[in-house]
Amino acid sequence: MIQTGWSLVLVGVMAVLTFLLGYVGSRRANTTPDFLVARRAVPATRNAAAISGEYLSAASFLGVAGLVLKDGIDALWYPIGFTAGYLAMMLFVAAPLRRSGAYTLPDFAEARLGSLRLRKFCTFFVICIGVLYLVPQLQSAGLTLNTITGLPPWLGVVVVIAIVAVNVLGGGMRAITLVQAFQYWGKLFAIAAPTFVLFVLFLGGPGNGAQPVDSSGVLRFPEDAKVTTVDEVRVRVDVAMELSATGVLNGSYADGSVYWRPGLYEVGAQTELRFTAGSPVPVVEGSPTSNHDWLRPQTDGLSGLFETYSLIFATFLGTMGLPHILVRFYTNPDGRAARRTALHVLYLLGLFYLFPTVLGVISRQYLPRLLVTGKTDTAVLLLPSTMQPNLLGQVLGAVVAAGAFAAFLSTSSGLVVSVAGVVSTDILPGKVRDFRWATVITGGLGIALALALPGADASLTVAMSFALAASTFCPLLLLGIWWRGLTWVGAMVGLVVGGGLVIGAQVVTVISSYTGKWAASVFSQPALVTVPVAFLTMIMISKLTARRRPEDVSRILLRLHAPDPLGFMQDRDVQRFGTAEEKARQDENKRRDDSASPPLS
């Protein structure tokens, strides 16, 4: 690989900057509030940049462009959903959740419904969603490092976790706020600069390596191409073609020239396929083979329509249930600031998502070979050097690689902090030392799963965790914040039913992907069914168990909704949740405050 040197240098610079900023931010972090919520004093604009930096994961940076390359216009629902989900979060959750004064989602559940059992269930789902979201980040990191340098994928996974763990161990939330705010702007630059340059080149030089499309819209290779598959793939061929192959085709070994009639073909891992210029491009199963379908929305009929709606549902309602996004709001000083932060995030997200779409469209012209292997997540990384096989292309490619690395780092740190925060306060005793242990445990679990599980498209796995969040925490938060009637029994049954359905659907999808793809799309995109079921369950069971409504529900809702100047907002209710050590510290602080200043806040 030519661009290795440049990429390694820029990725290294990104890692060092991350580390330095983390160090600067963590110099004065030493209490639990420092670690978990950055002392609740982060300004709205910086917090917004940090949230965006955390939210724009590998799925956004690499996945969106890759899916546009593969699936065309229907893939645009991912960025739309990621943004609209943030809007839903701002409308219904941001300010009241901040006023609740809890540290983590289980904190909120217990403060609102007063049940320790419910709290344990929430802890379980926070860990599930966090890890489900962490694994694709790490796998993409491995894939990126492998694509740009040829180093083995496991190294990328370990490097990302190592940098994250050092930063998190050093300063917790305080350190990563600064780091993530920086990484948002880094990512925006890393995707905007190449997009502008490549778009100008694309407009200026048609036919410059672009592939020809025949009248019926079938994609053809612009020049002789050699493609080596990574995993086993099934490709669809629409026009009869000839190619030569070395490796496993349809279960038997082949070496030499092959003739493919239209149909489905199975290509084994590490098989080399050689195409001549002008031959049609076989496309991985499930994606449109012709540009005609790629350009037009909703060409998959009713099941495509169902999938689109399910995706809209999952992302629109799932964002508010993501633990690593929620925990960020606790770092705002009050509810009004939380709302303003969310608005600023909407602006930053909209700005970012303009670029991956453009890159995805351009890469359709230059990187048809990725359609054969299905590894379209690498499109953004490969596009600059494919369009400009010179110094400019190498530098741009390196910038993109550094941006992608920033994406893995920031999202992974956010996930590790939020999962470790929950583990340390709910499973371990909740001191700073426990937080460090929890970080190590979370990181180790992430590495193990990322290496053990088969890789899939980052956006698809992420969509699954959105579906899980939408079917568990979204109903809990919405009903908990806006409806007096919720009881802990209802919430718990709802969590179990919603979460259980999504996890079951995921298991069915995995089994079917190994045994011939027989599962209907409702299993891979279950949100359209599971979210209403979870809502209904929670409401019905709560009505049946109305006796168990918490007695102080009015007081709690008052605290969630009363405007900030009235001063009802309380930070974490130490009397109810705190450990003995924290209570002692709280009392001491109170005494000191009382004697030092007149008690007017």
Binding site: I73, A84, L295, L343, L558, L566, L600
Partner: protein, 146 residues
């Protein structure tokens, strides 16, 4: 504090009214207190309504219920409207395939509708919500502050 208010020789005493504000209601009744007629912040009166809210009297309960309903209605209208608009797009593309061939400025209409429009739309809706929600809260504070 701009003016010297305490007795001579004890310049740093807080205003009695301020001090009273932080005692419980029953404790306040039994104390001798200095009456300040023109307290510019009206802190004492706000506090009484806050106590009313806190103790869940019928007035306080109704006030907060109305605020919650108002905020929820705003959120549902804005969020539901956005969701409805976005959710109509796929079915429109499905039922009216000719939409895909309309070109605007050299780009096909669906690409503009999906790739560009939703982002400013979301920001606009969020901006409107922030304004409305903050106004509702302002109204609530001033109704408490009567």
């Amino acid at each position: 504090m701009t003016s010297h208010s305490g007795p001579p020789g004890q310049p740093d005493q807080p205003q009695p009214a301020e001090r009273d504000a932080w005692l419980s209601v029953s404790a306040r009744k039994n104390r001798r207190r200095r009456v300040v007629l023109a307290d510019p912040r009206g802190r004492g009166r706000v506090l009484r309504t806050i106590i009313e809210l806190e103790e869940q009297t019928s007035v306080g309960e109704k006030l907060i219920r109305d605020l919650i309903r108002q905020q929820l209605r705003t959120g549902l209208l804005l969020g539901g409207g956005t969701l409805l608009f976005l959710a109509l797009l796929p079915v429109a593309f499905y039922l009216l395939p000719w939409l895909s061939d309309v070109q605007l400025l050299g780009v096909r209409l669906p690409w503009l509708l999906l790739g560009l429009l939703p982002f400013p739309l979301c920001y606009g809706v969020g901006y409107a919500y922030r304004g409305l929600a903050e106004r509702h809260e302002q109204d609530f504070v001033s109704s408490v502050d009567r």
